[in-house]
């Protein structure tokens, strides 16, 4: 049943959001802390686990794959509802602050990726042992 996969996906999102919201309250932050990321972890665990096979294989899996495939159309809709006019109205300060933050962050991607890939062979061996 397709709806089983969709229901699993929904349950992951709601559970993740609840935890993210609770983390926000615990840290005294007015934001959901990583709710979506936690939900993704749940789905990764479920799709890698034997127990949830009936919810992730066959028709149920295509229920999840459908929403995964709808991702780009949803992102296009998301782009179309951004407050672009306000960003343009922000003037030079907003423009410079935004552009500079992006340029510096782009430049850091290869630097930090290297930090990750250096010891990664050792790490994966450790995980293999565990």
């Amino acid at each position: 049943m397709i709806v089983y996969g969709v229901a699993l996906l929904s349950a992951c999102l709601i559970l993740g959001m609840l935890i993210g919201e609770a983390l926000g309250v615990a840290l005294n932050v007015e934001a959901n802390v990583g709710g979506v990321g936690i939900a993704m972890l749940f789905l990764v665990f479920a799709s890698n686990s034997e127990k949830f096979k009936s919810l992730t294989e066959g028709a149920a899996g295509s229920g999840i794959n459908f929403w995964s495939a709808m991702y780009i159309p949803i992102v296009v809709a998301m782009a179309a509802r951004q407050n672009v006019a306000a960003a343009v109205d922000g003037g030079m300060l907003a423009l410079l602050a935004g552009v500079a933050a992006v340029v510096v962050s782009f430049a850091l991607v290869p630097v930090l990726s290297k930090i990750g890939s250096g010891p990664s062979t050792e790490e994966s061996e450790e995980q293999g042992a565990v």
């Binding site: 959901n32 802390v33 794959n65 780009i72 992102v75 782009a79 006019a85």
Partner: protein, 252 residues
């Protein structure tokens, strides 16, 4: 006319599916015929969406782009936070745990590095523009983190509405630039594997920007970047009104 409006408004989400579908079809056609596949179809579709959002915003004076036009109201629901998060989580289906573990440490470092670096850049530019009040500098710096961190920080430390609006604008510029710029720079920053995608998500942090930028670069990388990006705003809201504000007020 009234008849069309009734049908369109009543079925707004369905209209959105159709409109987005046609937009993507045109974009892929353009990508194929005019750029010979050099620019990804989804990058063109996202750019078209942003252009439409600009004109929608100018025409209606609203703050949700095209979605403020009554006939296209469904775009607001389809592209809203709920559907976006649902689809992002779905992209994690089929991701291997080992890939996540490999970049785990670098991913976490990148989140903190991303928040702090963006904040410093934003704050320095605020200072260059002549701001001397610690709350104002902090709020603009926080805006360069994301357009959510800006207002959350600004309200917490009592910045003026004008500065909070500026911080939102800075965050929007960042988000839009990440959407457009990522596919263009991907090759030069080594953005072609799950590890660098996780670092990228952590450094950029704007969920919308990362989501769209990676989609236009390589859809396979989306779950990895999105995973770290979704922690970024939370970390930003945590550091902005606290440590980062204390540091700035110590200097000013």
């Amino acid at each position: 006319m009234e008849l069309i409006e009734t049908v369109f408004v009543r079925n707004n989400l369905i209209v959105a599916f159709a409109v987005v579908g046609v937009t993507i079809w045109i974009s892929y056609l353009v990508a194929d015929k005019l750029t010979h596949g050099r620019i990804h179809g989804s990058a063109i579709a996202i750019a078209l969406g942003l252009v439409a959002a600009y004109f929608g915003g100018v025409a209606t004076g609203g703050n949700t782009g095209v979605a403020d036009i009554a006939l296209l109201g469904g775009i607001g629901l389809m592209g809203g936070g709920m559907m976006r998060d649902f689809a992002i989580v779905a992209t994690a289906f089929g991701v291997h745990l080992s890939e996540l573990k490999k970049a785990g440490v670098a991913g976490v470092i990148s989140i903190f590095a991303g928040v702090i670096v963006s904040f410093i850049v934003g704050a320095v530019i605020a200072i260059l523009f002549g701001y001397t009040d610690a709350a104002e500098i902090t709020t603009i710096g926080a805006g360069a983190v994301t357009y959510i961190v800006g207002p959350v920080t600004g309200e917490a430390i009592g910045a003026s509405d004008a500065v909070i609006t500026l911080s939102v604008a800075a965050g929007l510029v960042k988000s839009i630039l990440v959407m457009i710029g990522t596919p263009l720079v991907a090759r030069y920053i080594g953005l072609n594997n799950p590890q660098s995608a996780m670092v990228f998500g952590g450094l950029m942090g704007t969920t919308s920007g990362v989501a769209a930028g990676l989609a236009a670069t390589d859809p396979k990388l989306v779950p990895y970047g999105a995973m770290t990006a979704t922690f970024y705003t939370g970390v930003g809201c945590l550091l902005g009104p606290s440590i980062l504000f204390f540091i700035v007020s110590g200097i000013y």
